[in-house]
C-alpha cells in the first residue's frame, strides 16, 4: 500500500487508500475504549500542531491521538503578533524545517496552505482544514462513523445540508463519499449552493424536504453566523425553517437516518437539540471516532507498518 508523506485532502486519494485509513482506525478505536489508553508505538516522536484558526476541538483531538500513540504533541503557538508582523507561512516553513520536525498538523484560513507547507518541508503535513478547500480528517471520521453504523456505503444516500459554498467539510466529504460509492445530495439555499458546485459531480438541491425520503445519513454543516450579516440569507429563522434539522422533518426519510454534524453546533439553527441528542444523533460518536481516525493517519504517515495493537 502506497502511503503519502502528507494528508492534504481526499480528492487525491484512491478508494483503496481511504479504505486503508478507515481499516487502520478500527484497532485504534479499540485502544481508545481500553481503560489504559496508551501505546508505545511512537514513543520519542513529536507531532506539531500549527493552528492559525482557533479550533479547540480539532486541535485537542489531534493532540489526544498523538498522545495515545505515545508521541509528544507540541503546540506551536501562532501568536497573532507574529502574523501581524508579516511573518509569512514560508518563514514558518523554514523555521519548522530547521527544527527537523517529523509531522506538522496545520489549520489555516487560506485554501492550499497545507499543501504549500508540504511543498516546502521534508516533514509530513496533515491538513486540519485549509480555507474552503479540504478538511480530510473530518471527512474520514464522518466516513468511519457512517461505515460503523451502516456497513458498506455503496448505494447509501447521504444528504449534506447547509453552507456548502464555504465548507471544506462538505468538499472533503463529497470526495470521500463518492469514492466509496455513496449517493450524495448537497442541499442549501441558492446563495450558499451556487451552480458551479456541480463541478463536485453530485446532485445539488434547494429543496431539502424533497430529498429526504430514503436518506441514510443527513449531515448538517455548521452555519457561520457572519454569513447572515454578509447578506447570504435573510435570517436564521428563515434558514432554519427551510434547512434546519429536527425530528419532525426527519420523519420524511422513512428510516432511522443517522444525523451527523461536524460541531460545534448552533442548536436551534441548523439542528434541533432533540435530534442532536437523540438516538440518531452521532455527534458524540464522531468525536470519539475523530481521535481514532487521527491516530490512524498519524500512525500511517509516521511510517507505521507493523501491527500496532498486537
Amino acid at each position: 500500500m502506497r502511503m503519502f508523506k502528507d494528508l492534504l485532502g481526499l480528492e487525491g486519494l484512491s478508494p483503496d487508500e481511504i479504505r486503508h485509513i478507515l481499516q487502520t482506525a478500527k484497532p485504534m478505536k479499540e485502544v481508545l475504549l481500553r481503560p489504559v489508553k496508551k501505546l508505545p508505538t511512537l514513543r520519542g516522536k513529536a507531532v506539531y500542531t500549527l493552528f492559525y484558526e482557533a479550533s479547540t476541538r480539532t486541535k485537542t483531538s489531534f493532540e489526544m491521538a498523538a498522545k495515545v500513540l505515545g508521541a509528544d504533541a507540541v503546540n506551536i503557538g501562532v501568536s497573532q503578533s507574529s502574523v501581524n508582523k508579516g511573518e509569512s507561512l514560508l518563514d514558518t516553513a523554514k523555521t519548522l524545517q530547521a527544527m527537523q520536525t517529523d509531522l506538522i498538523i496545520i489549520r489555516h484560513a487560506a485554501s492550499g496552505a497545507a499543501g504549500f507547507l508540504a511543498r516546502h518541508l521534508e516533514a509530513g503535513v496533515i491538513n486540519a482544514g485549509d480555507g474552503q478547500h479540504e478538511h480530510p480528517t473530518q471527512a474520514l471520521l464522518d466516513l468511519f462513523t457512517m461505515q460503523e453504523k451502516l456497513g458498506d456505503l455503496r448505494g447509501k444516500k447521504v444528504i449534506i445540508v447547509g453552507d456548502v459554498l464555504h465548507s471544506r467539510v462538505a468538499r472533503s466529504n463529497v470526495w470521500g463519499l463518492t469514492k466509496l460509492g455513496a449517493e450524495v445530495v448537497l442541499a442549501g439555499p441558492p446563495t450558499l449552493l451556487p451552480p458551479e458546485l456541480s463541478v463536485l459531480g453530485v446532485k445539488l438541491s434547494y429543496d431539502l424536504d424533497r430529498e429526504l425520503p430514503g436518506a441514510d445519513v443527513v449531515m448538517a454543516l455548521r452555519l457561520q453566523l457572519e454569513r447572515q450579516q454578509a447578506g447570504l440569507f435573510p435570517s436564521l429563522r428563515e434558514y432554519s425553517r427551510s434547512y434546519g434539522l429536527d425530528r419532525a422533518r426527519l420523519r420524511a426519510t422513512g428510516k432511522e437516518t443517522l444525523i451527523l454534524h461536524p460541531g460545534p453546533m448552533n442548536r436551534g439553527v441548523e439542528i434541533a437539540s432533540d435530534l442532536a441528542d437523540g438516538p440518531q444523533g452521532m455527534v458524540e460518536e464522531q468525536v470519539t471516532n475523530g481521535v481514532a481516525v487521527r491516530m490512524a493517519v498519524i500512525y500511517l504517515l509516521m511510517g507505521g507498518t507493523t501491527n500496532v495493537v498486537a
Binding site: 509569512s88 507561512l89 487560506a110 480555507g131 478547500h133 463541478v199
Partner: protein, 444 residues
C-alpha cells in the same frame, strides 16, 4: 547606416513582404523591394554601412506595450524603470506606457517628468508615463490634467483600482477632453470582486477559492461605456477578460463611441482550468477566465472589437508570490515572454497573422496614445525589431532582465524572440544582449 537585406517586413500601416530596408540618422531611410549596392552607397553618403542578411527573419515596427507596471518610484524591490525598460527591449518592446499606481502615485507633473527622466537614463525602451485620474488615486479630486500632459503624460488612469464613484468617472471623461488624452479604465466592481482570488466558476468551486465573477468587470465596462457615450469622452478599457465585456464594446463601437480596449496575452493563453492552489504566477486581476471567455477575446481581437494586446506586466517580489494562492498578490510579468508566447501559441498555429500582431501591438497603441511608431514608412523613427522565429530560450530567474520572476513560463522554453532591436536607429539589443547607451543617457 544599416542595410537589412531581403527581410520579411511586416508593416501594419502598409503591406508585408520581402524588403530591403535602410536605417540612417535614427530614421527609416528607405523601404523598397530591392536596393542595389549603388543606391545604398549613394544613400549612405560616405557613412559606413552595416549590412545584414534578413533571410528567415521578420522585421516589425517596434512593439508598443500600453500597460506596464514599472513600480518606480516607491516599490523598486519589485522593479524599477531601468529593469522594466531592459525587460521591454528583450521582449521586443521599443515603447512602453508606465502605469501611475506607484508610491507615491504619479499625480503631479513633477512625477510625470521623473518617470520620463528615468526612462531616458535607462536608454533602452521609450518610457511614456500615464498620470493618475485622481489625486493620490483616492478617487475624489481630479489631477491637473493639462499640466500633466505638458509634463509628458499620454493618458490618465487609476489602474490597480477602479473609480467606483461614477460621478468622478463622468467628470474625468469630461475634463480630459481638454487634453485629448484617453482615460484608461480598470473596470472592476469592488463589491462583486471583493476577496476573490480567481474567476468565479467551477475551477474555483473545486479548489475552494473565492471567485471573482465576470460581472465584476462587465458591469463597470457597461457603466464606463454609458458615461463615454453621455460625455463624448475618450476611453480606453484595460485588460478586458470576459465575453460580456467584448459584446458591450462591440455594440459601443457600432454606435461610434470613442472607445478602445486591450486584452492581455495571458487571458488568451490560459484559462481558469490552468489554475491550481500552488502556481501563484497564474494569479492575476482580472482573473484567468473560462474557455468561452477566451474564445470571445480572440474573436474580439481578430474582428477589431479589441484594439490591442498589452502585457499588464506586473512584477512582484518572489517572497510575495511564495504564499498560499489566496494570500499572494495579483500579477504576471509579461514583457520578456509575451511576444514569444503569443508567437508560438497564436501566430504559428495560424490563429493570428503577423500583420494583425503588428497592428494590435504596435500600430494601435501608437495611434491611440499618440506615440511615434507603428509603421515602417520611410521617414519614421527607426524603432524596429528583428525577430528570429527559430530562436529558442529557456526562461529562468537568471535569464530575466526584470527583477521579478512571477511568470507562468518560468522554467519553460519558448521559441521566437527578437535578436536585434533598434530604438531611434540605435541598437539597444543585439544577439539577445542589451546595449546600454555610451554616456548613460540617450538623447532622443
Amino acid at each position: 547606416m544599416w542595410w537589412l537585406k531581403n527581410i520579411y517586413a511586416v508593416d501594419p500601416s502598409g503591406s508585408c513582404g520581402k524588403r530591403d530596408i535602410l536605417i540612417r540618422e535614427g530614421k527609416i531611410e528607405a523601404n523598397a523591394e530591392r536596393l542595389s549596392p549603388e543606391e545604398v552607397a549613394e544613400r549612405a553618403g560616405g557613412e559606413p554601412v552595416e549590412s545584414l542578411n534578413g533571410e528567415g527573419k521578420y522585421l516589425f515596427p517596434g512593439f508598443i506595450d500600453a500597460h506596464t507596471h514599472l513600480r518606480e518610484p516607491g516599490q523598486e524591490a519589485k522593479e524599477d524603470i531601468a529593469s522594466g525598460a531592459a525587460a521591454a527591449v528583450k521582449g521586443g518592446f521599443t515603447s512602453i506606457i508606465a502605469m501611475a499606481n506607484t508610491e507615491p502615485p504619479v499625480d503631479s507633473r513633477g512625477l510625470v517628468e521623473f518617470v520620463r527622466t528615468q526612462g531616458a537614463r535607462a536608454g533602452l525602451a521609450r518610457v511614456y508615463p500615464l498620470g493618475t485620474v485622481t489625486k493620490g488615486m483616492r478617487g475624489r479630486e481630479l489631477v491637473e490634467m493639462l499640466d500633466l500632459k505638458e509634463g509628458g503624460a499620454v493618458g490618465f488612469s487609476d489602474d490597480g483600482h477602479n473609480l467606483q464613484n461614477s460621478e468622478v468617472m463622468r467628470l474625468a471623461l469630461e475634463y480630459a477632453k481638454l487634453t485629448g488624452l484617453p482615460i484608461v479604465s480598470h473596470s472592476e466592481d469592488e463589491n462583486l470582486a471583493c476577496g476573490g482570488a480567481m474567476h468565479r466558476g467551477k475551477a474555483a468551486a473545486r479548489l475552494g477559492l473565492k471567485g471573482i465573477p465576470s460581472s465584476a468587470e462587465s458591469i463597470m465596462v457597461a457603466r464606463d461605456l454609458m458615461l463615454a457615450a453621455e460625455t463624448g469622452g475618450k476611453i480606453h478599457l484595460a485588460h478586458i477578460s470576459c465575453r460580456e465585456s467584448v459584446r458591450l464594446i462591440r455594440e459601443a463601437k457600432e454606435r461610434g463611441l470613442d472607445v478602445s480596449a486591450e486584452v492581455n496575452p495571458h487571458h488568451l493563453l490560459f484559462t481558469d482550468r490552468d489554475v491550481d492552489l500552488f502556481n501563484t504566477s497564474l494569479k492575476v486581476n482580472p482573473p484567468l477566465r473560462s474557455e468561452e471567455d477566451q474564445e470571445a477575446l480572440l474573436t474580439g481581437l481578430l474582428d477589431g472589437t479589441l484594439d490591442m494586446l498589452a502585457t499588464d506586466h506586473a512584477p512582484h517580489v518572489w517572497e510575495e508570490k511564495a504564499r498560499p494562492f489566496a494570500e499572494a498578490p495579483f500579477g504576471i510579468i509579461g514583457l520578456e515572454t509575451a511576444l514569444a508566447a503569443v508567437w508560438q501559441r497564436l501566430v504559428v498555429p495560424g490563429k493570428l497573422s503577423p500583420k494583425r500582431l503588428a497592428e494590435v501591438w504596435s500600430l494601435a497603441p501608437a495611434r491611440r496614445f499618440g506615440l511615434p511608431g507603428g509603421t515602417l514608412r520611410p521617414g519614421s523613427p527607426a524603432d524596429l525589431v528583428l525577430f528570429d522565429p527559430e530562436w529558442r530560450e529557456r526562461i529562468t530567474s537568471d535569464s530575466l532582465a526584470s527583477k521579478a520572476q512571477n511568470t507562468p513560463f518560468l522554467g519553460q522554453e519558448l521559441q521566437g524572440f527578437p535578436t536585434l532591436v533598434w530604438v531611434g536607429g540605435e541598437p539597444v539589443l543585439r544577439g539577445r544582449q542589451l546595449c546600454p547607451a555610451g554616456d548613460g543617457v540617450r538623447h532622443r
